[in-house]
Amino acid sequence: MPLFDQLYNFAHWLAQNREEAEDLVQETYAKALRGFSSYAPGTNFRAWMYRILRNTFVTSRTGLKATMTVPLDQDDDDPMAPADTQTPEAILIDRSNQQLLHSALEELPVHFREILLLCEVEELSYQDIAETLTVPIGTVMSRLSRARAALRALVHQKLQKT
C-alpha cells in the first residue's frame, strides 16, 4: 500500500494519538475508495490522499478542537525574521536533541505543524500543499514562513531552558 507509511505518520502527528491516527488512516482509505469518482486522473494523487486525510482530521472532534483557534492568514505578513545565526550549533539539532524538536513540533498549533510536515517531511511542492490544504499558494508561503519562525522560537526557548 503506497502512501500508507506517510499517511500514518502524518495522521499521528495531527492527532497525536495512536488510536485516532489509525481511525484517520482507515477513514481516509475508505473515503478514497468511496469517493474515487472525485479524483481527476492526471492530477496529483498524493495531494488528493493527503487532502482526504486532512479534511477527515479537521472534521473530527480532536481536529475541530485543535483548529478552533486558527488565526486568519495574513498575506501582508511581516518580512520573515532571519534565522538566528548567532548560535547555528543551537539550531543544528542532532539526534540527541530529537526529543526537543519532537516536543516543539507537538506544541505548535496544528495549522503550523501540518504545513511544516507537508513541506519538510513529505516534501510536497508549494502547489501540492496548496491543493492539500485548499488555500492559495501565497498563503502556503506566508504560513510556512510563520510556522518556521514559530518553531525556531520554540526550539530556542527550549534550548535556553536546558
Binding site: 500514518y8 539550531i91 543544528l92 524538536l101 513541506c119
Partner: protein, 251 residues
C-alpha cells in the same frame, strides 16, 4: 539589493521553489555575503533536522494488515460494475504508486547523498582554508594524496582551458575516504569528488549534467573510481571539466 530582501526569498530558495534566474541571483549573492550564506546553512541544517524528526511514527503490523485486508476485500463486497472499475483503477494507481514509491525511495537516498556533497562543497569553499594542499600543479596535488586515501587517480592538464586547479583535501562520504579537489572557472568554484566505485552512497548513473540540491552535478564511474563534479557553474562548464577528467583517466 539589501540582505533583507534576499532573506525573504531564502526559504523558497531552499525549498527549490524559486525560478531559475532568481536562484542564480541568490547563488551569486551567497558567494559575496558571509552572513547570508551562514543563514542559509543554518536554515538548511534546520530543514534536515526537521525531516529526520518528522519521520517519527510507524503503524503497528496489525493495523497495516487490517487496512491491507480492507482495501483488498473491497471488490468482493461491492459487486457493482462501477465499484469494480473504481477499485480496479485504484488498484492500478496503488501499483503505480508502489513503483513511484520505490523510485522515490531510491531518489530520496540519492538526494541525501547529494545533500551531503552540497554541504561538503559549500562548507569547503566558504572556509578560510578550503584546501589542505594549495597548488595549481597537478603533479603536486596528486602525490599529496599518497598514503591518505586508498586509491590513486589522474588529473588533467589544464593548459589552454579556462579551468584552474586550486588544490585538494581529503574528504569522507558514507565513511569512505576520498579526494576533494577544487577547480575554478571564471569566478565559479567547482568541487570534484573522487571515491572508490563501491562507495556505499547512491549517486545515480552517468546520465548528463543534472540539477542536484540547486547545484549542477555530473557523476560517472570508471577504472574502479566514482567521480562527482559538483558546483554552481553552468552545465556546459561542468560537462567540460568532466570531459577533461575523463580524458585524463584514459590518456
Amino acid at each position: 539589493m539589501a540582505c533583507e530582501q534576499w532573506q525573504s526569498q531564502l526559504d523558497a530558495y531552499l525549498d527549490g521553489e524559486l525560478p531559475a534566474d532568481a536562484m542564480r541571483s541568490l547563488d551569486a549573492h551567497y558567494r559575496t555575503c558571509p552572513s547570508c550564506s551562514a543563514d542559509a546553512l543554518a536554515r538548511l541544517q534546520f530543514k534536515r533536522s526537521l525531516k529526520f524528526a518528522g519521520n517519527r511514527y510507524t503503524a503497528t503490523p496489525d493495523f497495516r494488515s487490517k487496512i491491507r485486508t480492507k482495501v483488498a476485500a473491497r471488490p468482493r463486497r461491492t459487486w457493482g460494475m462501477g465499484w469494480t472499475l473504481a477499485t480496479a483503477t485504484l488498484a492500478l494507481l496503488f501499483a503505480a504508486g508502489a513503483i513511484t514509491l520505490y523510485m522515490g525511495r531510491q531518489s530520496l537516498q540519492r538526494q541525501h547523498t547529494y545533500s551531503e556533497l552540497a554541504d561538503l562543497h559549500v562548507a569547503t569553499i566558504g572556509s578560510a582554508n578550503p584546501v589542505d594542499v594549495v597548488s595549481s600543479d597537478r603533479h603536486t596535488v596528486k602525490p599529496w594524496f599518497q598514503g591518505k586515501i586508498p586509491f590513486t587517480f589522474n588529473l588533467p592538464e589544464l593548459q589552454n582551458t579556462d579551468f584552474t586547479l586550486l588544490g585538494g583535501r581529503v574528504t569522507y562520504l558514507g565513511q569512505t575516504p576520498g579526494a576533494h579537489l577544487i577547480y575554478q572557472i571564471r569566478k565559479h568554484q567547482i568541487s570534484v569528488f573522487i571515491f572508490p566505485a563501491d562507495i556505499p552512497a547512491p549517486l545515480g548513473s552517468d546520465s548528463g549534467v543534472r540539477q542536484q540540491q540547486t547545484f549542477n552535478a555530473k557523476t560517472w564511474t570508471g577504472d574502479g573510481l566514482r567521480y562527482v563534479v559538483f558546483g554552481d557553474a553552468s552545465p556546459a562548464d561542468i560537462q567540460n571539466l568532466t570531459n577533461l577528467l575523463k580524458s585524463a583517466a584514459h590518456p
